[in-house]
Structures are given as structure tokens and as C-alpha cells.
């Protein structure tokens, strides 16, 4: 009899827990369905890189993005150009580590890439940045491309040095 009592008590507890679980699952509180599809994700990141100039993030002696500020104060980049142009300039100067760090810092600190998506950035078919694991397995990939010609001023000689054309390719895919 005692055993039966214990079994019944266990069953009652599990039924209570299940009922609580059902009530929580089907309660009125709605979690939003985030509608950032892959095309929007690709368009968002491409527009930020191609429409925002580096100087838009900076004041006279400092920038809101610390990586950008470091590059600017060390005279490694020209601020009066878009972020895509800045990437191309760093690529031209063969500062690929700094290029990777800058892209990583911008995409992470401003939460530009949803965790459901991976991203690769190529300059002239050379991979300069990657985040995500399932590039090869992904069934759907979206690409945005831009051709970059730009220039920077050599502050020592005062001459203008052109670089490009470079083809910058941004590829977004579903990680899930």
C-alpha cells in the first residue's frame, strides 16, 4: 500500500509539472519572430559598408569605433571614404591582420550579423574575413559585390596614391 501511495504521489507531481509546462508554452506572452531574412541581412551589411564613411564615425581626434580610431591616429587609413574603401586601402597596404580585426570589431560590436548567418568577405577572390562554419554545406548563399577604386594621400610626400580596382565580395549564408 505504501508503495502504491508513493507511485500515485509521483504521478500527481509529474502531472502538475506537465500542466505548468503546458500553461507556460501556450500562454499569451509572444516572443517576436525576427524577420531578418538572408536577403535583408546581405543588403543591410552591404549598405552599411558602402554608404557609411569612416569619418561619419569619428570626431576630430577620436572615433566611436576604437579599431578605426587606432588606424586613424596611426595614419594608416584615410577617413574620407566609405568603410569598403577603408577595407580596400588596408588590403592594398598588405595589412590583412588589421583588416580582419577591423571587420570583426565592426560586425561584432554593432551586432551587424545575426547569429543565424555566416559571412565571408573576399577582396580580389582572396578571403579577408570569415565568420561561420557551414559555408560549404549551405544550400543558399547571397552575394553582394562592389568594385572599388580609391586613393589615399601619402602624408610624407603629399602625393596621392591610387589603388584598385578591387572586387569586394560579401557572401552571406544560413548557418542553421
Amino acid at each position: 500500500m505504501k508503495k502504491a501511495q508513493f507511485f500515485i504521489i509521483d504521478a500527481i507531481f509529474s502531472i502538475i509539472i506537465l500542466i505548468m509546462g503546458y500553461l507556460m508554452l501556450f500562454s499569451n506572452f509572444k516572443i517576436e519572430n525576427q524577420q531578418i531574412n538572408i536577403e535583408s541581412q546581405a543588403e543591410n551589411i552591404y549598405k552599411i559598408f558602402s554608404e557609411i564613411k569612416a569619418q561619419d564615425l569619428c570626431f576630430d581626434n577620436y572615433c566611436n569605433n576604437k579599431k578605426l580610431e587606432e588606424l586613424y591616429l596611426n595614419n594608416e587609413i584615410n577617413l574620407n571614404q566609405t568603410l569598403l574603401d577603408v577595407f580596400a586601402e588596408l588590403y592594398y597596404k598588405n595589412k590583412k591582420d588589421k583588416l580582419f580585426d577591423l571587420i570583426e570589431n565592426i560586425t561584432l560590436s554593432y551586432d551587424l550579423i545575426d547569429e543565424r548567418y555566416g559571412i565571408k568577405i573576399f577582396i580580389n577572390k582572396e578571403e579577408v574575413f570569415s565568420k561561420g562554419k557551414n559555408f560549404l554545406k549551405a544550400k543558399e548563399k547571397i552575394t553582394r559585390q562592389a568594385i572599388i577604386f580609391s586613393f589615399y594621400e601619402n602624408k610624407e610626400t603629399g602625393s596621392f596614391i591610387k589603388y584598385g580596382p578591387y572586387i569586394i565580395e560579401i557572401i552571406i549564408w544560413n548557418e542553421i
Partner: protein, 193 residues
């Protein structure tokens, strides 16, 4: 006889316990199954709202009224944005948010909010149409901190948590933008039934 009864009792106890455990595990598996299908199952609902993110942000960018058209090329004009925040929700609805859906639900509210890189919501605005004057539309989207304040009631108040919706359908659209010399995320939270 007593021994036989005792043996029978034991067997019945074991059988009933097995039955109960099977029942419990079965219910648990069904619950996990439906939890896993939660997002997929409801996406087939024909009444689900579906707003194209690009269309919405293009409509915001192409507002003909330059005083409140705050978004151009991923850049927010601070002055126009303040004007936008101080404009009547019905006016904004008629100007921008009307005709976004083929079939507009009976209750629909939009909450436009701006989040900085520290994940703080620094500006917020509710937009809705007063289809039915008896319904308090602005109460459908609210911030759970600060006593469940409706979206738009304090446009400049800083919130830590995203707003919540107490209707059946909710979608969140996002666009990174430049505001005050830094990249922010502009969200449009749509809540409808």
C-alpha cells in the same frame, strides 16, 4: 492466500507504475515535439503577417515630408527623427505604414525603436491607426520595465529590454543605421491580431 494476494498486489503496483511512467514520458515527448515545431508550425497560418523588411524601410526613407523623413541612405537625421518622435501616431500611420499589408489585421501596432551598441533602447515611438476608438492600441506593445509603459509614451526614456507584444502575431525587422556618429540598430516591431 495472503501470500498470493501480496504477490498480486506487488505485480499490480509494478504494472501501474510502468503505466504511469509510460504516460508521463509520452506526454513529455509530445511536449518537446511541439516545442521544437513552435516556430515552423505557426508559419503556415494564413493569417500570419508578412512584411518585407526592404519595402518597409524604403517607405520610411521615401517619406515625402522632409521634416519627419529621418532616414536617408542608412543615415538618420537627428532633427527629423525628433520631429518623427513627436508626430501623431495616426499621421505617421497614414503617411508611412498604411498599405504595407494586402490584408490589414483588425489590430495592428508598430513600435519603431533605436538601439545603441550597448543594447540600450534610446528612442521609441508607437504608430497605429485608430480604426476603433474603443480600443487602446498603444497598450499592445509595452516595455516590461518601468511598470509596463506602452511603446511611445516616453520616446526618450532608456530601456534595457526589448518591447513585448500581447497580441497573437509579432515580427521584428531590423536595419543598421548611422545616428549621432555611431552605428545603431533601427528596429520596427510589428504586433498584430
Amino acid at each position: 492466500m495472503n501470500k498470493k494476494k501480496a504477490k498480486l498486489n506487488k505485480k499490480l503496483q509494478l504494472i501501474s507504475m510502468d503505466f504511469i511512467m509510460t504516460f508521463v514520458i509520452y506526454l513529455l515527448s509530445i511536449s518537446i515535439f511541439f516545442l521544437g515545431l513552435k516556430n515552423l508550425a505557426f508559419s503556415e497560418n494564413s493569417n500570419k503577417i508578412d512584411i518585407n523588411s526592404e519595402l518597409l524601410f524604403n517607405k520610411i526613407s521615401q517619406t515625402y515630408n522632409e521634416d519627419i523623413g529621418f532616414l536617408k541612405n542608412s543615415i538618420i537625421n537627428s532633427e527629423s527623427f525628433d520631429n518623427f518622435l513627436n508626430t501623431d501616431p495616426q499621421v505617421l500611420y497614414d503617411m508611412i505604414f498604411n498599405d504595407l499589408l494586402i490584408k490589414t489585421p483588425a489590430k495592428i501596432v508598430y513600435c519603431v525603436y533605436l538601439e545603441n551598441k550597448n543594447k540600450l533602447i534610446i528612442k521609441n515611438k508607437a504608430i497605429y491607426s485608430n480604426f476603433n476608438p474603443n480600443i487602446d492600441y498603444k497598450s499592445f506593445i509595452y516595455f516590461s520595465e518601468n511598470d509596463n509603459k506602452p511603446c511611445g509614451e516616453n520616446p526618450n526614456y532608456i530601456y534595457r529590454n526589448k518591447p513585448k507584444c500581447n497580441l497573437n502575431e509579432a515580427i521584428l525587422l531590423k536595419k543598421p543605421v548611422l545616428y549621432n556618429k555611431d552605428i545603431h540598430n533601427l528596429y520596427v516591431f510589428v504586433c498584430a491580431e
